[in-house]
């Protein structure tokens, strides 16, 4: 255990559960305390869980293509809830179709995400980054 807490889940009307289960498994093995709000989760579900557990980061998954709609105003809502410096990642298949990822990344950074992951980037890459961002030493 490294003492850090991460909220994970799949946002919106998205039911893709496999990656979510894998992420849960991988983060736990990497020493994080994992709070999994599961599939079909709203922005509020993520934020409430983060407040309740005093989380250090939220890792949003979006697979089904509606990520862009589902994430509108997420960072603002975090700020309103006092989660100003919370680390916010998103990954999966976050937009509809095969789009130029540089552009996609920019759009989501604009929405307030600290890091944005392309399709099929494995969770291990996210964990590496998280350790960096949270100053966790191996």
């Amino acid at each position: 255990m490294n003492g850090k807490t991460v909220v994970i889940g799949v946002i919106g009307s998205d039911v893709h559960a496999v990656g979510n289960k894998i992420i849960d498994y991988a983060l736990t093995h990497a020493g994080f305390k994992v709070v999994n709000v599961g599939v079909l989760s709203s922005q509020e579900d993520f934020i409430n869980a983060a407040i309740e557990t005093n989380a250090d980061a939220i890792m949003v998954s979006s697979l089904y293509g509606h990520g862009e709609i589902d994430c509108q105003g997420f960072r603002d809502k975090c700020n309103e809830s006092g989660l100003d410096n919370l680390i916010l990642y998103i990954g999966g298949n976050i937009v509809v179709g095969k789009q130029d990822f540089v552009e996609v990344e920019a759009r989501f950074k604009n929405l307030g995400f600290n890091r944005v992951y392309a399709p099929g980037v494995k969770i291990e890459a996210g964990i590496e980054d998280l350790k960096k961002d949270l100053n966790i030493k191996e």
């Binding site: 919106g12 009307s13 559960a17 496999v18 079909l40 099929g120």
Partner: protein
């Protein structure tokens, strides 16, 4: 009213119907049921999904069907016309967007607006309910191939009403298969009841001379589902549909990847579906089969994706299924462009054509695998009937509670989530942990034995890590997961 596996009476149906039509404004347009049937009758018979499948079955032809859905009617027309002509599709789908699937029609409205504004589809499918019969009929009239709604909607009553009233002659889904993989906390009581409604609706059209095809969603979570589990659920949904009077049923199966197991699963599914239907007195039902190309994570490289697509097509051709649902070279990234979609179809069509006069021949190995899948499926179905005390609907509810029916990697809290699958050394999917699935001692031993064999060859323990490795294997370019890659 208590849930039971029995035909909904016309009175009950009409009462529920009134409520259903109120759930979104477009419902009002189809209040007059006779007009709906009249319209549906006017659709040319060569555009009838059920009849096309029947004739394909009789002629041992394998049909191909894409997935495809965008936000706007005009775009959907263009997309499907392109897939008809350039893609050589035999059957057309309308893939419904995820908000509709959750009955969030307001979100759909927003999605439609945003799509208009940004000039690209902001929805991952076609919001048929929002478009109503105006849009849905226009779509159907613009095409020459039969149309089917493909979705993943726990409560698809309004959607089903609108599509059939628009002359779409097939509907995918079922009370289990569109609940467990597609929702988090919708009760099986509710979805089975709602799908009894959809089945009854299809049957009413059928009784009025319009054949309607119903297709339980075979692959479930698409992720290492043991064939006997998906077959058992497909057979259950076929029986539930037949009880409501459905006459055209397509049972489905998602490729697992071991060719012999896949062919065996299709053969077992064909045989047992007919056996169970006959046993329960349904004698005049046209059953057909659908094979889904690999439903799990796909390789990102397009050439490799073609390899996966064509490999699946060979299996489909050898098994002589009635139709194949086709993936595209964009699968790992997102909703395909129409070109990528057509490419998946053309690649599949080529293989199907090359293999059209060929089929799988029986070998000892194939026979063995058919027997094993049939035996496992029978263990499961016997137990479902038993805990339902003879009523299949009640049996399903009970069976899920007890873990007799159990779907791996599902989002729903209503599946026990106790079974764990993994591949054996040949890539066949086995029960690593059967949880509470009541397989006979002999079958459990067989599953265990096959996995031990892999463990020995891979020099490791039988464990969940195998399952994890298997989940990523195909997208990384192989079938069976390996402990470590150099």
């Amino acid at each position: 009213m208590e849930l039971k596996n029995q035909k909904i009476t016309m009175d009950d149906f009409i009462n529920v119907r009134k409520e259903v039509l109120k759930t979104w404004q477009t419902g009002a347009q189809i209040a007059d049921f006779d007009k709906c049937i009249e319209y549906a009758s006017s659709v040319p018979k060569n555009k009838n999904f059920a009849l096309k499948l029947k004739s394909a079955k009789m002629n041992h032809i394998v049909l191909i069907q894409p997935r495809a859905g965008v936000a706007l009617v005009e775009d959907q027309i263009q997309l499907l016309q392109y897939l008809e002509t350039e893609g050589e599709a035999d059957l057309l789908p309308v893939t419904i967007d995820s908000y509709t699937r959750q009955n969030r029609y307001e979100n759909c409205s927003l999605g439609i607006q945003e799509s208009l504004r940004l000039c690209r589809s902001m929805l991952n499918g076609f919001p048929a309910v929002n478009h109503g019969i105006a849009g849905c009929r226009k779509l159907q009239e613009s095409l020459t191939m039969p149309l089917q709604a493909r979705h993943g909607t726990p409560d698809a009553r309004l959607l089903s009403e609108i599509i059939h009233a628009s002359g779409w002659t097939s509907n995918e889904g079922g009370g289990i298969s569109y609940n467990i993989p597609y929702s988090k906390d919708v009760s099986l009581e509710k979805t089975i009841r709602d799908w009894q409604y959809c089945d009854r609706l299809a049957a009413i059209y059928e009784e009025n001379g319009i054949p309607i095809n119903r297709e339980p969603f075979g692959p479930l979570t698409g992720t290492l589902v043991p064939p006997s589990m998906s077959n058992a659920i497909a057979i259950i949904e076929a029986l539930l549909a037949a009880t409501q009077g459905v006459k055209h049923i397509t049972v489905g199966y998602g490729q697992c990847g071991n060719q012999i197991q896949d062919i065996a699963a299709i053969k077992a599914l064909e045989l047992q579906t007919d056996e169970y239907l006959h046993h329960y007195g349904f004698l005049n039902i046209v059953t057909t089969t659908v094979f889904h190309q690999w439903m799990g994570g796909f390789p990102k490289d397009e050439a490799k994706a073609y390899g996966a697509i064509a490999n699946a097509s060979v299996t489909a051709a050898l098994a002589k299924v009635t139709k194949v649902i086709v993936k595209t070279p964009h699968e790992a990234f997102g909703i395909p462009t129409k070109e990528a979609n057509a490419n998946g179809l053309k690649c599949t069509k080529m293989v199907i054509n090359l293999m059209e006069d060929q089929r799988a021949y029986m070998s000892k190995k194939l026979q063995e695998q058919v027997e094993i899948i049939k035996a496992e499926t029978k263990c499961i179905l016997d137990a479902v009937f038993e805990v339902g005390k003879g009523d299949l609907a009640i049996g399903v509810i009970e069976a899920f509670k007890r873990g007799i029916l159990d779907v791996p990697f599902a989002p729903s809290i209503h599946t026990a989530n106790k079974i764990l699958p993994a591949r054996d050394n040949y890539g066949a999917v086995r029960y690593l942990d059967a949880g509470n699935v009541p397989l006979s001692e002999e079958l459990l031993n067989y599953n265990r034995f096959m996995l031990e064999k892999r463990a020995k060859l891979q020099k490791r323990e039988v464990s969940f890590q195998m399952t994890v490795d298997d989940i990523f294997a195909v997208s990384e370019g192989r079938l069976v997961g390996r402990p470590e890659r150099k």
